[in-house]
Structure formats: structure tokens, C-alpha cells
Amino acid sequence: MRPLTDEETKAMFEKLSKYIGENIKLLVDRPDGTYCFRLHHDRVYYMSEKILKLATNFSRDKLISVGTCFGKFTKTQKFRLHITALDFLAPYAKGFGVAAKTTQECRRVDPLSIVVFHQADVGEFIRNEDTLT
């Protein structure tokens, strides 16, 4: 396990910012505890510092996973985000939608057809009523 280097941190933040934009700083700097990213066998894990301190007691080959896995770095050092990060990204997401058409169809379709359904949660209309209409 080791902390991420600057390049690795940058690559990861770039990827995350595509999904949560500026709110990455809310992951980095949390009011309810110090959380950190650590790299273990090319995978990036997000954990609280007390879990980290406990995890130092395991040898590298015996340690399987710590905290939650956000994603991994490929052989060519590109960051691939995993579904396990969803719980952390969801509250800060820039927007969600369900694809209305398949990927191939999306490409072939005319400009005015619907491709994404924005499924709002219960309070969204009320939250955003100023901006929606």
C-alpha cells in the first residue's frame, strides 16, 4: 500500500471531475473524519485514517482490500473508475440519466430524439423548481 503520486492523483481527479465536477474537494476534505486514497496492487482505495492504520498490520500479499475501491490504474497508467465508487459519487453527481436508447442507436439517431431519461428523485422538482421553469 502506498499513497498516490502526483501524476496518479491528477489522473484520478480528472476522471472523477467528469462525474462530480468540483465536489471532489468534498471527498478530500470531509467534516466527519480524515479520509485518504491509497494505492494497493494498482487499485485505488478510499478509506478513513483509522482503517488505514489498522490495515498497516497486514503484509502486502495478505491484504486484499481496504475501505472502498474507487477504481484501478491500468498497465498504461490510465484510471478506470469502478462501480464500487458509486456510493461516494452519487450525492455529488452532476446529473444522472438512464439511457433511453442503446449505444449504437444513440449514434445513429436524429438530433431531436430522446436519448436520456432524467429520472428525478422525489425532492428534485422542489429543490430545483426555480431553475426548471
Binding site: 502506498r2 492523483t9 471531475s17 446529473g95 436519448v115 436520456v116 431553475t131
Partner: protein
């Protein structure tokens, strides 16, 4: 009376002593042949037949044996002695007599298959010595000796080039090449490579990482700084968003004006917001925040 008895006693003691001494020294006509290593004594003296004829041949034999044994033991006493664990031991010489064979001599073994073949082909047995004079080895030994001396006296030696051997291993050659390449003024960074030569895999030093549990606050600071830099670098204006927004605005304007036109009549359409351009909308691009969508503008 007492004096007589004392004298008698003394005389008796002397006699006894003499007798004892007599028994140690044995007189023989011919001296015996001794092989002390085998504890062997050969007596070549003639034996009178009349000694055997009489009834006391047993006594004669016993006396003969005792005499010869005495002589043998005398010989043993002449040998150098040493003390082994509280006993005085004589060191026996090598046995002189060659003893005959205990078992019959070995029969010649039938030749093996190989031996038969070799005999047939006329192959002689060539013995390969594993001692070969090798000058390069001598040179290498010398080199290592000097290196040891340098190491002992802490003298600095230059990095390894090629050892003076006839056959270099691929390993050594590649190492020598990399050392030569790096020993330039700019540490080999601008050296040309051969057309098919691959760049060195672990160029430079070993990577050093931050400690696992460093200072959390400083780590946090660094990450926040990085985020700030990233934000500043990112274009504040998201072009597609701005364009989409602009297009939507224009559509809305047209729709509104159409309605008004239908209602109002000939009032010129207020061109209002057309002139502002992209600058004014800049703030909106980034601060889209919660509800704004990305990607293809779908029909609302």
C-alpha cells in the same frame, strides 16, 4: 643365632635375586630371528631328540617356550615406549614378514559391453585432466585480488567496464553498454540509440514514495492545491454548454416573439439579448450545478 639367621636370609635373598635375573637372560646357541611387528620369534636352534624321548618332554617344551617368549619380550622392551592412559605401550615397528593370502586371488572379470566395443574399435582410454591452464582466469584472479585490496583500504574504484575475458556474457555486455552510455556530461540523456535498440527499462533511480501514514493534513492540502490548479486550468467556459444554452435562449426568444407577434402585431421583435455574445453567459457555463444536463440536448 640371630646373626647367622640374618646372614642366611641375606644370602638367600641374593640367591633368589640372581635366580630371577638368570631367568630373564637366556642363553642360546643361535640368536633368534625376530619380527617384532608381528610379535614373531623364530628359533633355529637344534633340538636334541633325546629331550623328546624322555618322559619330561612336556617340561622341555614348556621351558623352551618360556625361554623364547622371554627373548621376544626382551626385544619388545628394547622398543621406544609411550604412555597411553596410564599404561606404558611399546611402539611396534612395521611387520617384516609377508603373510600369505587369506583368500584366493580374484578371477579376472569378463569385459563389459563398452570394454568389448572399445577393444573392437581400438579406442584408447583418454584421461581428461580438469586442470587447464587458463590465462584469462589468472587475469580475473588478479583483478579480484586488487579489488579486494581496494575494498579493504577503502580506495575508490571506477564502475565496471568489461573484464578481460574472452567470452563476455550478454549481461555483462549490456551493463557495460549502459555504463558507457550514462557516463557523458548529461548522464546519457541525449545519446542516440541504434535503430533496433530498446530504451532502458529502469532508467534513472528507484522510485521513492511518500510514507504510508504521512501527515494527513499536508496530504489534504496538497490535494486541494492540485484541485485548485486543475480548476484554474480547466476552461471556465464550457463551450458546448454555452453554445447549447445560447441556442436554447434564442429558441425561447423566437417562440416568445412569435406568440407576441401573433398577439401584438407589428411591434418589432426586440433583439435584446442577441448582442451580448458569449461573454455574458460565461458565468452560467460553470455554475450550472445541480439540475443542468450534459450531453445531447433532449426535448423537454
Amino acid at each position: 643365632m640371630a646373626a647367622c639367621s640374618v646372614e642366611e636370609l641375606l644370602a638367600k635373598a641374593e640367591q633368589e635375586e640372581a635366580e630371577k635375573l638368570k631367568t630373564i637372560s637366556v642363553q642360546k646357541e643361535l640368536d633368534l630371528d625376530f619380527d617384532v611387528g608381528n610379535l614373531l620369534a623364530c628359533d633355529k636352534n637344534r633340538i636334541e631328540s633325546r629331550d623328546f624321548k624322555e618322559q619330561k618332554k612336556e617340561d622341555f617344551l614348556r621351558a623352551l617356550a618360556r625361554d623364547n617368549t622371554q627373548l621376544l619380550i626382551n626385544e619388545i622392551w628394547k622398543l621406544p615406549t609411550e604412555r597411553v592412559e596410564e599404561a606404558i605401550v611399546a611402539k611396534l615397528p612395521e611387520p617384516a614378514t609377508r603373510l600369505p593370502r587369506e583368500k584366493p586371488p580374484p578371477k579376472p572379470k569378463p569385459p563389459t559391453k563398452w570394454e568389448q566395443f572399445a577393444k573392437l574399435k581400438g579406442i584408447q582410454k583418454k584421461k581428461k585432466t580438469n586442470m587447464v591452464w587458463d590465462e584469462t582466469r589468472v587475469a580475473k584472479n588478479e583483478f579480484n585480488r586488487l579489488k579486494n585490496i581496494a575494498r579493504a583500504q577503502k580506495i575508490k574504484t571506477p564502475g565496471v567496464g568489461l573484464l578481460p575475458r574472452t567470452k563476455q556474457s550478454k549481461d555483462e555486455l549490456s551493463r557495460a553498454v549502459s555504463v558507457a552510455k550514462t557516463s557523458t556530461a548529461s548522464a546519457g540523456r541525449f545519446q542516440d540509440r541504434l535503430p533496433k535498440e530498446k530504451p532502458p527499462k529502469n532508467a534513472g533511480k528507484r522510485r521513492k514514495f511518500e510514507p504510508l501514514i504521512g501527515d494527513f493534513s499536508s496530504e489534504k492540502q496538497k490535494q486541494l492545491e492540485l484541485l485548485k490548479v486543475m480548476d484554474s486550468k480547466r476552461p471556465k467556459l464550457d463551450i458546448t454548454k454555452a453554445v447549447n444554452k445560447q441556442m436554447r435562449e434564442e429558441d425561447r426568444e423566437e417562440a416568445a416573439s412569435k406568440r407576441k407577434g401573433r398577439k401584438g402585431g407589428a411591434a418589432g421583435r426586440p433583439k435584446g439579448k442577441g448582442g451580448k455574445g458569449k461573454g455574458g453567459r460565461a458565468g452560467g457555463g460553470k455554475a450550472g450545478g445541480g439540475g443542468k444536463r450534459r450531453g445531447k440536448p433532449g426535448k423537454r
